[in-house]
């Protein structure tokens, strides 16, 4: 029963093609809903939430130590008592109108209004006439640490009144301890005028600000050099204070320093631009990009609890100047403070980057656990030996007289990297001060990143951001029970 064998065979091929199409569709649908489902559901234009809100009372939000950050009393939402505390948490929890993107109250609305567990709730409501209440969230953050951050910015004269961001996380588990973006405001008391006077107050700088990382990017360049350049660890580089890349571009050092003969470790310690620029040129664009992408640049972060903008390393550095500048974190390289914190965390965790989490547990109003804690890793950024070498280099930066000495704290093992990034904003030159680092002690395994915007001309990240970092590490040292 064969008619035109070849034609029949081709029928089968076409049918297979169509089947593959459907399979693709099914897999794509499942994958996108799994990864993007929460974001889509929490979108402001979703009318279903409004329905849910009419029938269900919003659940509570507490920090890791049980401090109530938000709760509903008699139909009204009540937040923390003190205005300063509310201000510190505004970017984390959200302002009352949903202007802050992906804050906990809007992003986790599914849990807060009990959308997932609605059947049981509805049955209970029906049978026992109990008030329908959403789930209660326990966040990983420490509210007091969050409140300490604006105070830290205020306490140092160089950073007082400056905008910026700070994020602290546990590099072994991925728990985010603090997430604060400045300028912040008290959503319950601040009026339109005050808010309008602030510089982009609704912008969560921790997760959304894509800025040049400056010298903090040398972590990546150093890793690339250790991985790909033979005997990079033992080689001696010569820094003459400037490196002429081409006719238009010469790499210079901060403060016109000349470092002389240095090893990679020393160059890292003193944040020598010329060594890393020449290293980048030696590596070549493709190699450096490959390592940057392993560290998470150009990757689509799909974290469960956080929506973080994607950092980027230019897809193609067309010119030598751009490549050289990329070596020390200028040019078109951009990253978020969250990502830079993840960089330190990955290095501290022997090369394994843990996923940053905000939700510790989710419990129903009856007390049953809806979502338990789970930590997972995002990727492996480098091998354990490269991580080890980087850890040593970062130690030198803070503890052995490097650029990050201001971050050191007594009886802690602070390691990190400073950064001073030059950029322009609205045509005016703007400098950003960065510090990213971690504490190498096992009982307090925390990594952080601090960003200070618009630091005065001539100042560095080491003078500004590192000091704030020291304050935060001190808090962690002094309150171990709150943060572990």
């Amino acid at each position: 029963m064969i008619i035109l064998k070849r034609q029949r065979h081709r029928f089968k091929v076409i049918a297979l093609l169509l089947f593959v199409g459907f399979l693709l569709l099914g897999l794509w649908g499942i994958w996108s809903v799994r990864n993007y489902g929460t974001r889509w559901f929490s979108h402001a234009s979703n009318p279903r939430l409004a329905e849910q809100k009419k029938n269900v009372t919003e659940g509570d939000i507490a920090d890791r130590n049980g401090i109530l950050l938000a709760t509903t009393v008699d139909g009204k939402r009540v937040y923390r008592e003190k205005s300063a505390d509310r201000a510190a948490l505004v970017h984390l929890l959200g302002d009352r109108n949903g202007q802050i993107a992906n804050s906990v109250e809007s992003f986790q609305a599914g849990y807060l209004y009990g959308v997932q567990s609605s059947l049981l709730d509805a049955v209970q409501h029906l049978t026992r006439k109990t008030e329908r209440r959403g789930n209660n969230l326990t966040l990983t953050v420490d509210a007091e640490l969050c409140s300490a951050i604006p105070k830290a910015f205020f306490s140092h004269p160089l950073t007082r009144g400056k905008n910026g961001a700070a994020v602290v996380m546990n590099y072994r588990t991925g728990e985010v301890l603090a997430l604060v973006s400045l300028p912040c405001f008290d959503p319950d008391q601040a009026d339109g005028e005050t808010i309008a006077a602030l510089d982009q107050p609704y912008w969560n700088r921790v997760t959304q600000a894509l800025l040049p990382p400056g010298s903090t990017f040398k972590i990546v360049t150093a890793a690339a050099m250790l991985r790909s350049l033979p005997d990079a660890g033992d080689r001696t580089f010569t820094c003459t204070g400037s490196l002429q890349v081409s006719d238009q571009f010469t790499v210079t050092e901060y403060n016109h320093a000349v470092h002389g003969s240095v090893t990679l470790r020393q160059a890292f310690q003193h944040s020598c631009n010329t060594v890393f620029a020449s290293g980048a040129l030696e590596l070549g664009d493709d190699q450096l990009r490959a390592v940057a992408e392993k560290f998470g640049f150009n990757q689509n972060f799909l974290f469960r609890d956080l929506v973080v903008n994607n950092s980027s390393y230019p897809r193609r550095n067309r010119t030598r100047e751009a490549l050289a500048a990329s070596g020390y974190g200028q040019s078109a390289v951009t990253a978020t403070p969250m990502h830079l914190c993840l960089l330190s965390a990955a290095v501290a965790n022997d090369g394994v980057m843990m996923e940053p989490r905000l939700l510790k547990t989710v419990k129903s109003s009856a007390g049953a656990t809806v979502l338990g804690w789970s930590s997972s890793s995002v990727c492996t950024v480098c091998s354990a030996d490269v991580a080890e070498a980087l850890q040593q280099m970062m130690k030198d930066v803070v503890q052995n007289g490097g650029s990050g000495s201001n971050a050191s704290v007594r009886s802690m093992d602070i390691r990190g990297k400073t950064g001073t990034a030059e950029s322009t904003s609205g045509g005016q030159p703007v400098n950003y001060g960065w510090f990213t680092g971690y504490n190498a002690q096992e009982e307090l395994p925390f990594a952080l990143c601090v960003l200070v915007e618009d630091i005065p001309e001539g100042e560095t990240g080491g003078a500004t951001a590192a000091r704030i970092a020291a304050d935060l590490f001190t808090y962690l040292r002094d309150h171990p029970d709150r943060v572990r």
Partner: protein
Amino acid sequence: MFSFSSEIYEVLALAARYVFALLGVLIVLRSFAWLLSSHREKKDRLRRLPDAGMIGEMVVLSGSADLPENTALPVPREGVLGFVRSCDITVPCAGVKRRHLDFVWQDDAGLLVHPRSGCDALVDGQELNVRSGVCAMRHGSFLQIGSALLRLRVFAGLDPNAGFDHPAAEPDPAYDPALPPEAVPMPGPGMPGPMMSPDGVPVPAPMPGGMPGWMPPSGPDAPFVPAPPEAEENMPPARPVPKSTGWKEDWSD
């Protein structure tokens, strides 16, 4: 009319989600089970009917080492004849191109044969190539391609004009060197084709493996002799004529 309060309805609807999902999965499973079983059943049926869909056979009168004589190549209703195995009729002989010619059966015209470019053939002595167009082969026609000589045998009920007023019905004996004349009854006017009983009642269709009336001359079976008239009472009755094959009931001329 009856309706639930909104709270009860909500509970019902939420609980019903799982019921519907289950039913949906059940429907899918049963559909595919049906698909598979019907597929298997069809395969079974086709295995029991190797000739299903064939309109006849091409008997190899002279072939090659790969194509021994007296092989019967089944001829489907439409297809391609050529050297390669992916053709519907495979003729692995010298001089046959990869895809030599296309053929299609039309109920009133016979087997229309159309050679492809660069391919030649001879049908009942007539030259055939791309320019000369389509030629019709009927029951008993000869086809010469390359070094192969084939003769078309159409199954019962499919070629109403078999053997009657067919211009090529008197073949040149040069094309039949190996066959003794009495072993192969030549279709001609007035003489019934091998599948017909004398009074024109059609005899039922082929049995897989060969026709009683077309025996290879060297085979153990006796050469065909038209059935004696008295055997007619033992003939099974004429089978009912399904309309789809365009059977013409009246055979006798």
